[in-house]
Amino acid sequence: MAFPHKHLIDISEYSADEIMLLLKTAERFKEVNERRIKQVPTLKGATIVNMFNEPSTRTRSSFEIAEKRLSANSLNFGGSSTSTVKGESLSDTVETLCAYKVDMIIVRDKHAGVPRKIADLSGVHVIDAGDGKHQHPTQALLDLYSIWEHKGKFEGLNVGVVGDISHSRVCGSLIPALKIMGANVCVIAPPTLLPADVATLGADSATSDLNSVLPDLDVVYMLRVQRERLEGAPFPSLREYNMLFGLTKERDHLMKPDAIVCHPGPINRGVELDSFMADHPKRSVILDQVYAGILVRMAALYQLLGGTNDGIDA
C-alpha cells in the first residue's frame, strides 16, 4: 500500500498506524546505518531542496545525512544565500525552486505556516523542518522513536514535557503525536512560559510544580531554554529556573527508577539539565534521539517519495 500522505507538515493528520509505519520503517533503516558503506540507492535521481531560512545546524545536518544515505540529490538553499535577503518574496522563491523541477522541499523558517504555504504553491512534497513557534514534526517522530525503543509502547505512558512550552515548535508536534499514540501528556512550566490555551495544545494537564508530577512520569522531556527568545524575561534568572524547573541530581530520587530523560538539543548544562542527568547512563537517551533523527528522516523521505519496497536491499 502506498503511503497516503504527500507531506509531513501537520502530524495530527497522521493516524497511529501511519506513525507506527514510519517508526517501523525507521527501525529497518538501522541496518543501513551500521554497514561499512552507509548508503543505498533507494532515492537515486530524486532532487531534494533543503530550504533552511533560519540558522540550523543539527536538523539540517540530520536531513542531509538521511538524504545522502538514500542517494538523493540534495541542494542546500538558504541561510545567507537566500533570495529573501535580496527582497524576493517567499512565493517567488518557491516558484523559482519549482522551475528547477525538484521533487521535495524541506523547509525550516522562523515564520509559522510557511511549510503549508510552500506545499500549496509548489505542488511538490514538503517536509516541515520547523516553522516558527508552530510545529516540528520530524523532531516529534524521532522523540517517539526513542520512547518506543526504550519503553516498547506508548499506551498509558506518562510523559512530562518541561520548560518553554509557549515558544516551542517541538511541543506543537510532539504533544499531538503523543496523544495520537495513546500516551498521557503533562506540561510543566512557569505560567509565563505556558501558551494561552493549554487545552488547544492537547496536553492532559498543566502544572508549575515539577516535584509534584515527577514521581508519576515514565518519560521526562526537557525542553531547551531558548535564551535567544527570552527578551521578555519570563523568569528572573537561569539560576532560579534551574532551581524550580531544572532536572537536577537532587530530583533523581523523585523519579521512577526506569524513567528516561529526553531533550531535543542542544542542551544548556546547569540550566534545564544538570550534567548528572544529561550524562546519566540509564536515564539519558539524548544521543539515541540524535541517531533516531537520521532513521526517522530516512523513513519519512522514503515513504513520502513513494518507496514501493523496503529499499534496503535494492
Partner: protein, 430 residues
C-alpha cells in the same frame, strides 16, 4: 436641473418615514417629498422595488493618499465607497505625511474635490506624526475643515498624554476617536490570544490589550468631558464597558466592523490566510455574538469598515510579515443586509441609524433627512439582489477582503451625492 426619484420605498427613522413615495431634488437639496409628484423639466428615475435611505457614511476608512497610493488613493477609494453604497467616508490620518496639520487637511480635501466620488470627511491626528508625544494643531485643522481627531493605528500609549489630548480637544465640539491598544500587552501579537495563538504558534494579541485602554479612555472621558469614540470594538467586555459608560451618561460612542461581527479567530485556518490578519484581531465566537447584541440593543452606535487596503505583494507573504488590515467598503452593506437585516436581527431603521445617522452625528456633520430642505445624499438599495463577492468587481485597488467567495443578498444600486448620481445600476458614474 431637477431630479425626480419615483416609487422607491423610502425609509428614514428621523422623520418616521417608511412608505413608497416620490422625491423631488433641485440644486442638491430635497424640494418635496410626496405621492405622485410631477415636475416640468428634469430627470426622472423609476426606483420601483428599491429601498431609498439617507446616504450611508463609513466613518473609518483608510484612503492611503498621500503616501501609499500603491495600496489605494482617493480616486479609487472613493469609487469603492460609492460602489459599496456610501455617500461619505471619514479618512484616517495615518498617511505619509501624517495628516497632523492644516496643510494635510487641505490636501485631502482638495484631492477629494478633484477626483473623489463621495464626500471625504477629514480626520486629523491627535498628536504630531502619531507619535503620542506632542499635541497636533487641532484648532488650526478644525479651521481648515477637520471634523474629528484620532491616532488610529497606534493609540496614545501614555495615559498622561491621552489626558492632555482629551483635555485640549474638549474646548472644541469635536470627537476624539481612539484605537485602543496597549502596546506593552499587545507586543508582536498576530492573532487573538488563546486558542488561535496556541493553535497557530504565533504571538497572541490579548483582549485585555484592548479592554485596558477602553477602560482608561472612558475614565479620561469622565475626567475631561471630551466626547470619546471607541474605534473598532471587538470584545464582549469592551461592549459591556461602553454600555456602562453610556448608562452613566458619559459622552461615549463606539463602532464595530463587519469582519469582527461575521468572522472569528476560528476562520484563520492552517493556510494562514493573511486577509484575516486585522488589528484588532478577529476574536472568539462569544465576542462576535456580543458585538451583534450591542449593535441590536443600541450600545454600538456605528458600523464601519476600517477599510485597510494593501497591495497583493504585501499581503502575499508569511502571516507574521504581512501588514494588518482588510478592505471592506464594497462588502459592508451586503454583509449587514444579509447577516443582520434579512435575518431579522435589526430592521432597516436601525441599520440606517448605524450606517448613516449616528456616523454623521458623531462627526458633527449636518444630518441628512428625507424631508424638504435636506441635503440630497441618498443610497438606493436592491434588497433582493443575490451576488457573490469577487475581486473582479471591486473598484478598490486592493483585494485583501476576508469575504471573497461569500454569497450575499442585497446591495446598493444607485447612490446620489448632493443630487448627483455617483453610482447607477451598480456602476460608477464617471
Amino acid at each position: 436641473m431637477a431630479l425626480m426619484l419615483k416609487n422607491a420605498r423610502v425609509i428614514d427613522p428621523q422623520v418616521e418615514l417608511d412608505e413608497v413615495i416620490d422625491l423631488l431634488v433641485r440644486d442638491g437639496r430635497i424640494v418635496e417629498v410626496g405621492k405622485n409628484l410631477s415636475m416640468e423639466k428634469g430627470e426622472e428615475v423609476d426606483l420601483s422595488g428599491k429601498i431609498l435611505v439617507p446616504g450611508l457614511v463609513d466613518m473609518h476608512v483608510h484612503l492611503r493618499e498621500p503616501g501609499f497610493e500603491q495600496k489605494e488613493d482617493i480616486a479609487s477609494g472613493t469609487r469603492a465607497a460609492a460602489h459599496g453604497g456610501f455617500t461619505a467616508v471619514c479618512a484616517m490620518p495615518n498617511t505619509n505625511p501624517v495628516i497632523d496639520n492644516a496643510v494635510g487637511v487641505e490636501y485631502v480635501k482638495a484631492r477629494a474635490t478633484q477626483v473623489g466620488k463621495c464626500r471625504v470627511i477629514v480626520s486629523g491626528a491627535c498628536t504630531k506624526n502619531l507619535e503620542g508625544e506632542v499635541l497636533s494643531e487641532m484648532g488650526d485643522m478644525i479651521a481648515h475643515g477637520a471634523k474629528a481627531f484620532t491616532d488610529d493605528g497606534h493609540g496614545v500609549q501614555d495615559s498622561g498624554m491621552m489626558r492632555r489630548v482629551l483635555d485640549y480637544a474638549s474646548q472644541f465640539d469635536r470627537v476624539v476617536m481612539v484605537h485602543c491598544q496597549d502596546n506593552s500587552l499587545v507586543g508582536e501579537g498576530q492573532v487573538n490570544e488563546g486558542v488561535a495563538s496556541t493553535r497557530l504558534g504565533m504571538f497572541g494579541w490579548p483582549a485585555e490589550g484592548e479592554e485596558l485602554e477602553i477602560a482608561r479612555d472612558i475614565a479620561l472621558c469622565r475626567l475631561t468631558g471630551c466626547p470619546l469614540h471607541i474605534q473598532h470594538i471587538t470584545t464582549a467586555r469592551g461592549v459591556e464597558m461602553v454600555r456602562a459608560a453610556k448608562a452613566e451618561g458619559l459622552p461615549v460612542t463606539c463602532e464595530v466592523t463587519p469582519h469582527h461581527m461575521f468572522l472569528t479567530e476560528d476562520d484563520i485556518d492552517d493556510t494562514y490566510p493573511t486577509s484575516l490578519k486585522v488589528n484588532p484581531p478577529l476574536r472568539t465566537k462569544a465576542d462576535a455574538k456580543a458585538l451583534i447584541e450591542g449593535v441590536a440593543d443600541g450600545t454600538i452606535d456605528a458600523i464601519v469598515t476600517d477599510h485597510a487596503p494593501h497591495t497583493d505583494w504585501e499581503k502575499d507573504r508569511e502571516f507574521e510579515l504581512s501588514p494588518f488590515g482588510m478592505i471592506g467598503l464594497e462588502t459592508s452593506l451586503g454583509l449587514v443586509l444579509t447577516n443582520l437585516v434579512n435575518s431579522g436581527v435589526i430592521d432597516y431603521a436601525r441599520m440606517i441609524e448605524l450606517m448613516a445617522i449616528a456616523p454623521r452625528a458623531i462627526l458633527r456633520e449636518d444630518p441628512v433627512r428625507i424631508e424638504a430642505g435636506s441635503i440630497a445624499d441618498f443610497t438606493v438599495i436592491d434588497p433582493d439582489k443575490k451576488w457573490n463577492v469577487s475581486r473582479d468587481n471591486f473598484y478598490s485597488k486592493a483585494g485583501n477582503s476576508g469575504f471573497l467567495g461569500f454569497d450575499l443578498v442585497g446591495c446598493a444600486t444607485d447612490v446620489y451625492v448632493g443630487g448627483y448620481a455617483t453610482l447607477r445600476d451598480g456602476k460608477i458614474v464617471e
